[in-house]
Symmetry: C2
Subunit: 221 residues, 2 copies
Amino acid sequence: LSSAAIIQAAIEILDAEGEEGLTFRSLAGRLSTGAGAMYRHVANKEELLEAAAAELVAGVGSGTRSLKASDPSSLTPSSQTPSSLALMLEVFDLIDDHPWLGSQLARAPWQPAVLLIFEAVGERLTTAGIPDHHRFEVASALVHYLLGAAGQYAASSRIPLAVDRSDFLVSLAADWTSRAGREELPFIHAVAEQLADHDDREQFAAGVDLILAGAAALRRT
Amino acid sequence: LSSAAIIQAAIEILDAEGEEGLTFRSLAGRLSTGAGAMYRHVANKEELLEAAAAELVAGVGSGTRSLKASDPSSLTPSSQTPSSLALMLEVFDLIDDHPWLGSQLARAPWQPAVLLIFEAVGERLTTAGIPDHHRFEVASALVHYLLGAAGQYAASSRIPLAVDRSDFLVSLAADWTSRAGREELPFIHAVAEQLADHDDREQFAAGVDLILAGAAALRRT
DNA sequence: ACCTGAACACCGTTCAAGT
DNA sequence: ACCTGAACACCGTTCAAGT
């Protein structure tokens, strides 16, 4: 029984059963030990979750993580450091694989996992030629955007798998329609179709592009 | 005892004691009733929190809410609808006044409060001349950014008031320094000073400007 | 019909008792 | 020194019993 073994078991439970599946009792069961035994190695549940998140995030941006085949950035050889966009997508995919990570990152700003992401993003900006005095603000914007999107997508993934995702969104849109007429929620009505059709990952990438385009505009001033 | 009275009492407890102060027992105490009485009027705690959030967000963007004196957008007469930036700052200030709102908004993407914000942001973009086919993507980016920043600032506000905020950040930065040398976290070291000095609200506004500048760049293509 | 509050099925965390 | 697991102090939620 060690700190590393506990964190590993926690990640397995979180991946298999989600956030609510992880309790000190379920953890004790998996490790065939007593419920209180873990407190010798981790201070409390918050620290355990932070450590689990940091464990997953540790490899990000170092080129050791394999990229999805669909990733447009896979043109970048893995021996090179990825661009800011590729890095952001790497974290996005990580959250897609481990939805609980999205909630966890959004929960506490100063946890190690968030700092690691902030560092990795900031370094890409240095390479990308963003001037020194704007790097902090651009990195903050990118990380805040990432955490916001992550929290939303993580929550969306809690939609029961039985219901079709686009069905869900369409019926949600229909719900709004009945709750409020077109006069009350004109914008949502106008984009309801896009809401049902859109691809989360593409939309995420589009948002990153927006921020990077804004940063490029900054550079010209 | 009514649904509205319960939501009102919940907001008061949340404002006074924070998220962990709100329990069905504390709520029952304030309303001088039994712990189970509320279940006639609200389905469960999740719904109660969503309703409390929606209640606060309801007035946003309608010009009924007073702007902070320090708000640069206060040049806009309150009889006019505020710009996208002014609207975003309005929500930011709301979260600043009710930190629990930040966590709550970040928690569930399809809750009424988030939809209201999405609608309000989207409408401002229509006025701002963002072309139809980009409005959805820009609104999503702005809302995701807002929710990410909101979650972070809300969590930051949980830092005990006894410790000075900039002291906290400096000591945090010092902590990183000792945990990892300059070679390991070069970017964080480079911006540590800005981290301690920066104003949350200004940084938030800068991020919004970045996204809007990106949107303006989009418009030109 | 609505409220009451004890009871149920959980939590995270602690700590005497064991090895 | 480390593990065990009952016990403690909570939760959200339910439901028989009251009015």
